[in-house]
């Protein structure tokens, strides 16, 4: 009998894989760590996910893409698109103080104007934000911006407490930040985990259902997948492609492929040989069997990219296409221009070794001579931003579903990031970017973005490779949780069932 008891207990533990007591903490593991709780301080993954839980937004986008009231219960946009008036609902911060129009004005101006704001691009049109009365906020723009409302959804536009930030300064975000979102900080151990507790004053009453959430940093992809399968964590932010099948074949866990605005691409440097030559860029694009690369790297989990913009964005044009795969044609291009044997020095971080191998093989097959140089992440960013590279391969994502910020980041030469540091600068694209931002008519806007996509798949400031979904692993007892394209967990709608 005694033996049987032990066997039964062991069996129970093995079968459940989790402690037997009902679980009230959700454990999310991610490879990116939380380094700051100040929403304007950084734009690094890891922090982005945390900001959304701590600081609520004026509006929120629903699953169907329409805007629903957030902290603002209603809003009004003047016909010229220059004045936005928000009516706030009565609500409180986690410390019990009221969230007022002053706090909203303070928070938005901080994102738009503060020198330490890491990502102000979406808020550049803002001229002034003022509190009309305790629950009316007026936002005035210098020029109309079609995506203004959706930009309010960006991770850094959460509402912080003016009184607290002015009183405590930096400390307001390191020790017990005052939260306006569904969660507040219970404990923060940098480089290990951020423990969140439900904010009792959150304006959506009765939410969130899950009372405690751990955001744990586990940098190794394999370790995270193993922990998920062993029941040590409930959610794995990013299961690597090769392990998706394995996770799906394990009991009680599965991988959900969630839509993202992620685009993997090849970045040539147009300010340096050989990619300053359009013929070289065209030949390099024609040399690549992008479908085969996508399939080999993502094992069929991603979609081949056809445009220079991510496919989850509004106004994404499915009809444009970079030069088709044609190795013979690519070789002929190089031959005719006397460019056979052109050297390509490609810089990569180690995690891109497989992609680099495939690129090298296909480029070398048409007559390039490719050298791959591995660098660490720090050197990669410093070389990339200072233009000390010939080519590389990496990815980016867009914070909203509106293409404005993506175009500014990746294709516009006068918008600060030099077209994702490729030094591409086509005055027509730059002009179209500003035009499209101000255009309020969706049809006309769409036409402008189509034009940008058409020009850029011809100019090839980048060679798009594939659109990768987020591949997150979930334990079966987590219900209603997903990751939005904007990298936000829908924690307030989630619940834990069973145990």
């Amino acid at each position: 009998m005694h033996m049987n008891g032990i066997v039964a207990a062991t069996m129970a533990v093995l079968l459940c894989g989790t402690p037997l007591a009902a679980q009230d903490t959700l454990r999310i593991a991610s490879g990116s760590k939380v380094t700051s709780l100040d929403p304007i301080a950084t734009a690094a993954a890891g922090n982005i996910e945390a900001y959304g839980q701590l600081y609520t937004h004026l509006v929120r986008k629903d699953h169907d893409g329409t805007f629903k009231p957030g902290l603002a219960q209603s809003w009004d946009i003047s016909p010229d698109g220059l004045t936005y008036t928000f009516e706030l609902r009565p609500s409180k911060f986690s410390d019990g103080s009221d969230i007022t129009a002053d706090d909203v004005a303070f928070s938005l101006l901080r994102v738009a104007k503060d020198k330490s704001s890491a990502y102000p691009a979406g808020f550049a049109p803002i001229k002034e934000v003022t509190a009309v009365d305790a629950d009316t906020v007026k936002m005035m723009l210098d020029y109309p911006s079609a995506p203004m409302l959706s930009n309010l959804e960006i991770f850094n536009a959460g509402i912080v407490s003016k009184a607290d930030v002015e009183k405590r300064g930096e400390e307001a975000f390191t020790v017990n930040p005052v939260a306006s979102g569904p969660y507040m900080v219970k404990e923060w151990k940098p480089n290990d985990r951020l423990t969140l507790a439900a904010n009792p004053n959150y304006w959506r009453e009765g939410l969130p259902k899950i009372k405690t959430v751990d955001l744990i940093e586990v940098s190794d992809d394999n370790a995270r997948a193993t922990m998920l399968m062993a029941g040590e964590i409930d959610v794995d932010r990013h299961v690597p492609w090769p392990q998706i099948d394995e996770v799906n074949n394990s009991p009680n866990v599965s991988v959900k492929l969630e839509p993202s605005t992620v685009l993997y691409l090849v970045l040539p440097n147009l300010a340096k040989p050989p990619f300053d030559n359009p013929i070289v860029r065209k030949a390099a694009a024609m040399a690549l069997d992008r479908a085969a690369i996508t399939n080999a790297v993502t094992l069929g989990h991603a979609t081949v990219a056809n445009s220079t913009l991510p496919n989850a964005l509004n106004y994404y044009d499915k009809n444009v296409s970079p030069p088709a795969y044609d190795p013979a044609g690519a070789r002929k291009l190089l031959e005719d221009a006397g460019l056979l044997g052109t050297e390509i020095n490609m810089m990569i971080v180690p995690s891109y070794a497989q992609t680099a191998t495939l690129l090298k093989a296909q480029w070398d097959a048409v007559g390039f001579k490719t050298n791959v140089e591995q660098v660490d992440v720090g050197l990669f960013w410093s070389n990339l931003t200072s233009g000390e590279f010939e080519a590389t391969t990496t990815w980016y994502y867009n914070e909203t579903e509106d293409p404005d910020l993506a175009v500014r980041w990746a294709l516009c030469g006068t918008c600060g990031s030099k077209s994702f540091y490729t030094n591409y600068d086509n005055p027509e694209v730059d002009k179209l970017t500003e035009e499209a931002l101000r255009e309020q008519d969706p049809t006309k806007r769409g036409a402008l973005y189509s034009k940008i996509q058409q020009i850029t798949v011809d100019d090839l400031p980048q060679i798009p490779l594939y659109y990768a979904p987020y591949s997150n692993g979930y334990s079966d007892h987590v219900k209603g949780l997903s990751l939005t394209p904007a990298l936000q967990w829908t924690l307030e709608d989630a619940e834990l069932t069973g145990g």
Binding site: D221, N222, P240, P242, Q243, D245, E246, D289, A292, N295, A296, V349, P350, A353, Q354, A356, T357, L358, K360, A361, N371, V372, E373, Q374, V375, D376, L379
Partner: protein, 262 residues
């Protein structure tokens, strides 16, 4: 033991020499259709995530492993012996300075130091060799010094000095040949270490760049497939064990034959 080791190492040298004839495929040829194929008739050790033949890559990898192992010990050996022999032979302030340098280097774990130097200089084999030269000479220097300290009291050395031979001549003709045997044994263990650490750097993305057929790089490439396609990492790992054991056995055997206490 010694014979087994020698045989293993000779076999690896032979494999490296005739790699093009042993390999069944081009080690760099990718094949989008045949990715992640398990070991079988077409691919003896299976294929990796881009369809390259693992067997051919392991075979070619032996060239890099031996190249790294044998070339990597030369600089530390030459520097260490020069410093150690002069320090031990002359003694006095030469010895003091040399040994303080050694004392400064010794407290740092060998691999950590190599890793930091490579991290500063940038990834690549050349920088690994530089790091080895900066750090690895210490072991040789200590060994050579203790040998030289004993030998400088030896009668044949004293005799040579009375006869007026130059220090240079005595060091090269009398001290060096007699100090050599423990050093040769040490070289054998060092080769193993240098190969292992070279592969470790490749694994960490700080050594040879892909798509090189280097065992450490290959193990890293197979890392995320370890539960679904074990062969990508397993065979280069096995190869490394076999070459490492080979050199270690030679070292052990030599030590026994030469009656050197280690």
């Amino acid at each position: 033991m010694f014979v087994t080791g020698l045989a293993l190492v000779l076999v690896w040298c032979l494999i490296a020499l005739v790699a093009p004839w042993l390999a069944t495929h081009d080690p760099y040829a990718i094949d989008f259709v045949a990715t992640l194929k398990p070991p079988g008739a077409a691919h003896w050790f299976g294929t990796d995530n881009v369809g390259r033949d693992t067997y051919s890559r392991v075979v070619y990898g032996s060239r890099l492993a031996l190249y790294i192992g044998l070339l990597g010990v030369i600089a530390p050996l030459v520097i260490g012996m020069t410093v150690g022999l002069t320090a031990g032979y002359f003694g006095g302030w030469v010895d003091t300075i040399a040994m303080r340098l050694v004392d400064i280097t010794v407290p740092f774990p060998f691999f950590v130091l190599v890793l930091s130097i490579v991290a500063v200089l940038g990834p690549g084999i050349e920088n690994y060799f530089i790091a080895l030269a900066l750090v690895g000479w210490v072991g040789y220097a200590r060994l050579a010094r203790s040998e030289a300290m004993v030998l400088r009291q030896a009668e044949f050395v004293l005799a040579a000095r009375t006869m007026g031979f130059s220090h240079r001549y005595i060091l090269l003709r009398h001290i060096l040949p007699n100090a050599l045997s423990p050093i040769v044994v040490y070289v054998m263990t060092d080769v193993t270490l240098v190969i292992l650490f070279g592969a470790a750097l490749g694994f960490l993305g700080m050594g040879v760049s892909p798509p090189a057929a280097e065992w450490g790089v290959m193990i890293a490439e197979g890392q995320s497939y370890i539960s679904t396609a074990w062969w990508i990492s397993f065979f280069p790992g096995l190869a490394m064990v076999l070459i490492g054991v080979g050199f270690a056995l030679i070292g052990d055997g030599l030590a026994r034959m030469l009656r050197i206490e280690r």
